[in-house]
Structures are given as structure tokens and as C-alpha cells.
Point group: C2
Chain length 325, copies 2
Amino acid sequence: MTIIPRDVISAADRLIGKAVVTPLLESPTLNERVRGRVLIKPEIFQLVGAFKFRGAYNRLSRLSDAERAHGVVAFSSGNHAQGVALAASMLGMPSLIVMPSDAPQVKVDATRAYGAEIRFYDRQRESREEIAAAIAKERGAIVVPAFDDPYIIAGQGTVGLEIAQQVRALGAELELCIGPVGGGGLMAGVGVSLRSRHPDIEIWGVEPEAYDDTRRSLEAGRRVSAPPAPRSLCDSLESPMPGEITFPILQENLTGVVTVSDAEVAEAMRFAFSTLKLVVEPGGSVGLAALLSGKTPLNGRTAVLILSGGNVDPGLFAKVINREI
Amino acid sequence: MTIIPRDVISAADRLIGKAVVTPLLESPTLNERVRGRVLIKPEIFQLVGAFKFRGAYNRLSRLSDAERAHGVVAFSSGNHAQGVALAASMLGMPSLIVMPSDAPQVKVDATRAYGAEIRFYDRQRESREEIAAAIAKERGAIVVPAFDDPYIIAGQGTVGLEIAQQVRALGAELELCIGPVGGGGLMAGVGVSLRSRHPDIEIWGVEPEAYDDTRRSLEAGRRVSAPPAPRSLCDSLESPMPGEITFPILQENLTGVVTVSDAEVAEAMRFAFSTLKLVVEPGGSVGLAALLSGKTPLNGRTAVLILSGGNVDPGLFAKVINREI
């Protein structure tokens, strides 16, 4: 099972008038700093504060009336939860989200505000997959996966389609794309849509150092996990393994994966705060961290940088800008 | 002495390839919250993080070669200082900035980084005007005022010119403009440029409650000061009185002035952080505070909201988002 560029165009049709067409921003200071041209795609301005709304809405909009009546169930540490909750509410269906009890408060509150019912689970002792499956069975509801679903991937791919259209309108020559990899839904979708318009583009995925399952999997040529690791700053990128559907798409489209440390992520968040004037969550900042730390050198080239989400607890953000993290 | 729309067009010519053409952003969540359509003009993305660069560059670009050699002197609590420092450096001339010793550290550091020499003064005991005049005389340098200068006003007016062009490209019907008033340079310039394209537009200035000198002056029909007040959160809007040149332009173009409290400003900064994902300094947030507090009701209309600057000390920003202010 895979997706083709036409699936992304179909998703884009569904999202017209629903999702925000996020702009491309440019900062002369950032360009100078990284010696190249960076076109920033701020998915932090997307509904729910992250790209996740795109995939969730595309997926849910494909359900039949009968399926809609029973609602949807999802498990997520945050942004996918909000995306599903809002998409369900816009499409008039009930949603229940299974969230870890230690999820950032800002994401819990927002998910509830979008109209979802929440069921907490203990990361250490319970399986969110089992809980979600049991609830779905009981209610006859559909489980909406966070990334390993063709409609989800195609929805996230609309980020890449917009980039291609906006870059063309700018008359710019696009040579790189840099963005975060958790389960790989975003970069798989972007890979398909962006490479179809820019066949020779370099597409770099970025992972947290301790959660480099995609980097390891690409190296091994098959899906493998990273060794168990303590929590990282990037709560939204702590996926155990690339998806069955996302992995072959990533294999085909990614130029490579680089990894960044928590310290580099915090530095990127501070740069976004003080220079770009943007609020970016840790997981959303890994691409910027890769750029600023020189791991994806531009050498005068033009790159698009995806800032994938901006949902960060005020307390954590305060610590980061105060250099306590 | 006044300015006409052609002065703003001339300033825009000078700024081509120098200033950032800031985009118009839109947030469905903000639109819903204030029951109208808000087009956000984020001058936080401007060089130096505030609109001030526009006026400073326009002013300095008019100096003769002989004048440039002697450099420029300015006094400012912050953003104007940065604007002058960067513009001087881009035009290859020396600059000296007279700053209060309690200016936000982030603004002091940035001004120095842009290549300016800094002379601190004591807000309570010294006159910055006298210090600047003495240094200028000694060096044969030009004093660059923060707002009361036709070239400065015309430069800030390019914000309004861009808004008019961008609104036209969007095909939107613009009915209100809301932005901050300190000395009045920004809203005077915007008044001239925006009203020439939108004759019936409502233009609302916003001041901090305790620094409502422009509101009082408009009511009195002449320039008056507000009574002495303790410092407000909005360090960039604590001007004692509207300017000789800005005031008649404001009289002609402003529909009115509303005032906002520090608590409303802090709430607006938190909204910008959590919902818009934008970093806005207190003085830059007063327009958003007016909108959110219902003081400039939209009733379904379309407004442009100027977020004029984003230079805020991390420590202060952390306190605001942690609700300690």
C-alpha cells in the first residue's frame, strides 16, 4: 500500500476552505546565519497549531455516514489528538482520544476544548493500542492511526503540495526540504508530493538523537527500533518505529536522516523566539536545529524548512527561553 | 509640515530589497473569537523585530555623503535604536544611541550587535535630548528623531501601503485598522497611506491606559501630556506627548484612540503565544488587546491588526506566559 501524487491532490481538494494555507516566511537574519535561503513553512499556524489537522480531516472526511455515527477513536501524545478532535467536531461526529497521563497540559486542554472525550492511560503499564481497540470495538468506532494510513499520509502531503505551489509563485529554485520525522507521516506525504514537482530535491528528515529509529531503519534497509531511551524534549517525535506504510515511502524519498540533541533543539527554540518571533514546540524545531547546527549545510542553496507544530506548555517554553533547559 | 501619500511611495522605493515585506496572516480561531475577520500585519518579522527599521532607513538614506561621514545620533528606549543602528550600518555610517540605563537587555544587546555605540543615561536625572544634542554638536552628527520627522513618518507609512496592496491582492474589503500609538509615527504614516486607498476606513489607535496622551490630545484639540504615571508594561509606548508633526496627521486620520490595561496587554501576549504562535512585545500587543477586550468591536467586519514589534526580554516573556504578570 502506498500513495501517489494524485492522492495528495485529492486530499488538498478536501481541505479547501477547511485547513489554513500556511504562508512561506523568510528571515534575512536566518538566511545570513545559515548561508543560504530558507523558506519557512510555519505549520504552527495550522488549525490546532500543527500539520496534524490535515491528515486527520482528510481521513475522517472519507468515512461513510454510517461510520460517522459511531465516531472515531485515536491515541496520541498530543497534536494528532487535537487534529482528530477538531476534524471530528467539524464533521459532526463524536471522538474519543486515548492520551498518556503525562501529556503536555496544553495539548490535553486543547483536545478537550475541540470537543473530544479523553481517556488517560499510563505509559509504563498500559497499552494505548489495546485500550483504543477495546473502546472502538465496544462502540463500533473507527480507530484513526497517527501516521500509518494512506489518507493520513496524503493529508500531510498537502504541506508539500502547497510548498511546491508557493515556491513556484515566488520564482525560487528549491533544492532542499528539511522537516521532522516521528512516525514518518509528514515526511512521507511531503516526499511524494514535493518530489513529483522537484525530482532532484534533497529531502532531509530530522529525528531526536535518542529516537533515531528511522535513521537506523534506513541504514538497516528494514524497520527497526532505537534502543530504549529516557524521554527527550521532543514529546511529539518519540515514535518506536517507522510505519509499515510510511517506511517504504521514506526509503524512496528521503535523502537521509540527521539527528539533533535536546540542547540543539532548545537552542533552535530560542532562535525562533528571539529572531523569528515564532513559537515552535520542541518536536517542531528539529529541522531548525539541524540547520543551525550545520548538520544540513546549505552552501548558498535554497531550502524549505517545515516548522511542524507550536503546541508547547508555557512552563516548558519559559524554561527554555530562560536557558534553564 | 506634513506628509502626503507620494512621500510614502517614495519611502517604499527606498526600502525595496532592504526591508522585509511582511505578510498578512489570518487565524480562524482569532476571527471566531472576535466575530470578524482579522488580517494580521506582523511587523515583528521586520528587520530588527519592529517596524522602526522602515522609518530609520528612509531617513538615513536621505543624508548627503558629507552628512553620512559624521554619523547619526538617536535616543530611544529600544526599537528605534535598533532601527537606526542597523540602517546606519547598512548605509555605512557610524551611529551612537542614547539609551535609558533600564532599557530591556534584549534591546541593548541587539543595538550593540547592529554596530552602534551606546551611551546610557538615567531616566530620572538626565535629559536624553540634551545628551544627544551635545554629542551631535561635538561630532557634527545628525540627530534622528524617533517619530517627529517627515521621512520617519513616511517610512512607517509603508506599512499601510503594503497593507493596501496585500488587501487588494486578497480581494478583501478593509473596514478597520488597529495599531499602537506611542509618539504616533506609525499610525500617522499608516493613516496617510491607508486612507488614501481606503477613504472610509476606521483607523483606531491604541494606547496604554496610563500613557493616553494622544487620546487626551485628540479630545483637547491640542497636544497635551498625560499625568505622570508609574512605568507600564509597554516600554515602547511611554511617550510624553504626540509629536508636532504627527499630531495634526493623527487628528485628520484617526477615528479615535482606545486604551488598554497592563492586564489586557498580558492577556493579549498570552493569546499570541498560545493561539497565534507569535512572539509579540507588550507595546506591540495593544491592538490585539483592544480587539480581544472588545474595545474595537468588529461586528462581522474586516480589520487589519498591526503587531508592531516582538522584542521582549525572555525573562519578562516567561513571566507573562506563566501568568506571573
